[in-house]
């Protein structure tokens, strides 16, 4: 789908993601994550055996709420609604130099890369069928 320029620009700048999946009983659940936007989709890294990965394998109906900043009160967000899937990849998480996410040590990043290479970790992609700003109508 074509993503509006202002929505794509927001997704390209922000890495704080609430991944929405469905539990085994069908109820919605949320997984706070870090993710990135590339190739028209939102991508996160997770363990293949994690609850979120199992939820997406069982039911591909998935969404991401991508929000600005960490700990900011003037929160804004974009909802990316679509289909989730798992993807094996040997590359580590993307360059973090411009990310606003809390920094991890190089040893943590190294362990993630190792586990991606071994297949213990996979990418979880959300391919959008809808991407738009969510309304935030209240003031503090």
């Amino acid at each position: 789908m074509a993503i509006p320029d202002d929505v794509a620009a927001f997704l390209g700048r922000h890495t704080r993601v609430y991944l929405l999946t469905r539990r085994r009983d069908g109820a919605p659940t949320i997984h706070p994550m870090s993710g990135f936007f590339a190739d028209g989709r939102v991508t996160m890294s997770t363990y293949r055996k994690s609850t979120k990965a199992r939820n997406v394998e069982r039911d591909a109906r998935t969404a991401c709420l991508v929000v600005n900043g960490y700990g900011k009160d003037d929160v804004r967000g974009v909802l990316v609604r679509g289909r989730g899937s798992l993807r094996e990849a040997t590359m580590p998480v993307p360059p973090s130099t411009e990310s606003e996410a809390p920094k991890v040590s190089s040893s943590v990043a190294g362990r993630v890369a190792e586990r991606m290479a071994s297949g213990k970790r996979v990418f979880l992609d959300v391919e959008p069928d809808e991407a738009a700003f969510v309304q935030r109508l209240w003031s503090e």
Partner: protein, 125 residues
Amino acid sequence: MAREAIAMTREELLAFLGTQRWVALGTLDPDGTPVGDLVPVVLDGERLRFAVPRGSRADDNIRRDPRVCCAADEFPSYYEIRGAVAHGRAEPHGTPDRLGSEWTEYAIVLDDVTSFDFRKVRNKY
């Protein structure tokens, strides 16, 4: 690492949620896809109250299927990440005085909550 090892105690959970002003709210669209919104929230004893604009997508979704999820988290630094994800059935709670008649409020009981506090992580790399 077992998840239980870094979960908040009940006391810590209520103290944490008591400081939150908004949450990510998960509801189900008519086709069953989960969707998220940003909504204002207040802790009310053992319940979490949140408000949505009357007639909004989230409001319509809740009226059709009251199963919801609320997530709140904080990120001062990696090893200070804290958060909680609460699941429940949204019960109508009227019009919130603090927001006005354009809004409608719901509440969930905090009896199905997952929490994490990275300050409890023992093996730091």
